[in-house]
Amino acid sequence: MLDYVRSYLTSNLTPGSAGNMFWAFVYIVVIFLGLSVAVIAMNWLERKILAHMQVRLGPMRVGPHGLLQPIADAIKLLLKEDIMPAEADGFVFWMAPIFVVLAAFTVFIVVPFGPTHAVTDMNIGVLFMLGVSSLSALGIVMAGWASNSHYPLIGALRSSAQMVSYEIAMGMAVISAVMMTSLNQQGTGTLSMIGIVQAQQAQEIWFIFKFFPLGLIAFFIFAVAMVAETNRAPFDLPEAESELTAGFHTEYSGFRWSLFFLAEYSAMIAVSSIAVTLWLGGWLRPFPNLLTGAKWDLFFSLFPGITFLFLAGMCFYSTVRMPKHPLFRIQTIGLAGFGVVLGLIGLILFITAVRERVQDIYWFSMKVAAFMYLYIWYRGTFPRYRFDQLMKVGWKILLPMGLGVLILTAGVGLWPLIQQTIWNR
């Protein structure tokens, strides 16, 4: 038993490829917990960052700087009465949130947090991610229809129309990135998520910079389409508050509503990780081929620890700045304690064995986190589109652009071959 557990640690494969059930299960649990924590953190960060963008303070009451607000929200949601409309279609109403959450979480079994840090490596990785995440449109349609109410139905119709149209532009951008894995390079192309990052490593370039500016345009198309795919601002028409109350989940409350919330945020993380894997070099650290050598390796591997120490420092700084009133004593002690925990995590991350293993996960998460910040930034910046404008952008701008990029990528990639043929003749 112990040998079975230990045998995986020496192998250089993902648990799925090694066929090790135990570690696959461990990875699934870790990813599930990590995602839930990330969603909770995103909840707090979004409210806080949006508030600061609008020169407000945001949540300040529950815990120091509102740090415990997500927990308070979660307790509120779980204790809330679970209401089902009398005319609703019971079974479908009950199934819809489960379906959405399943689709949003299943995707993560192929997300490569590192060369070995993925549940499994599928031959059809990208295809699997796109396919399963497109299933969440079904869940949204089910929710909207089952509520048997006007606002949810209109919200669901808008949402499914939007998702189906932007999926096509998204697919074009993804195909051009997948083509880059093989073009102008020996070996065959691949759809596997790990294979795509390894191709970027072998070609010594992130695909966003390859065939400049083709990679950049494809990335731009994906970056727009993924916001529309996840129904976020400025494409959040399905849940436009001013017109549709809350869109497809108007009739949902309590725990079921929080499932939709969880699914929305984990879908955001999922599409961001597709973008990171395809164009931004996945788990690779910055400049893996330019800044080589033991010194640079050491320098970049210190980053995770330094990040946590920085967060701990922020906590201590805020502790000093807390009001010196007896009423704030518990909050001050709690904040200092949080800082100590973060500092300890940072110190653990400096241990050599941990450092080596965690590095990939750190860089991947940081790239995804940048995308999550962008999501919040968009929401604070752009006004909402009108529905006809949304369709125009999807079908008349992004899709032709995507087709053009696809053809040009193929042409540029095959150019050496064409040249050679002409030369030989």
Binding site: L127, A137, L157, M163
Partner: protein
């Protein structure tokens, strides 16, 4: 690595498909039928995955479950369900249906019993790692003509739909 293609999974998925298929034709509510059809299609995708054809499985999920069924539901949801449920279903062709089903079942049984020679003795060696590449090479190499004909057919269908939907072109 242990193969996943165990009989247990086959019977589980095949059972799911059968139950889904029966529900599709027995539910009176068209939305429930569509949802049962989705279950059937997903189980079918899993069977493809079990047969070491991951690419076909992925395409099945994207196209059928993710694309076509969303459009199906889209249309069905716009129909007034109450009215369609009250109305008498006028399709009384169950005799023809039974005959067709019996004929198809008989064909399957005949193939299974008589057709031993058609099928290979053993399962083909699993080429999961190269599945997508192989499908691509075949489609754009050996079966190029058929592939292009199929795409032409789809183009004709699209043009036809636009012509029918648009009043003025």
């Amino acid at each position: 690595m242990e193969p996943v293609a165990t009989p247990f999974f086959f019977y589980l998925l095949a059972g799911l498909m059968l139950i889904g298929g029966v529900l599709v034709i027995t539910r009176r509510n068209p939305v429930h039928s569509a949802l049962a059809l989705i279950v059937t299609l997903l189980a079918q995708a899993s069977i493809y995955l079990m047969l070491y054809a991951p690419f076909v499985a992925g395409v099945q999920i994207i196209l059928y479950a993710g694309g076509i069924m969303v459009l199906f539901l889209f249309v069905i949801m716009l129909v007034s369900i109450e009215r369609s449920q009250r109305e008498r279903q006028f399709n009384k062709q169950w005799v023809v249906g039974m005959v067709a089903a019996t004929a198809l079942g008989g064909l399957f049984i005949a193939v299974y019993t008589k057709g031993r020679g058609i099928f290979p003795e053993h399962a083909l060696p699993a080429v999961e790692a190269q599945n997508t590449q192989n499908v691509g090479t075949l489609l754009y190499g050996q079966y190029m003509f058929a592939f292009e004909i199929a795409s032409l057919l789809l183009l004709v269908a699209i043009i036809g739909a636009v012509v029918m939907a648009k009043k003025r072109i």
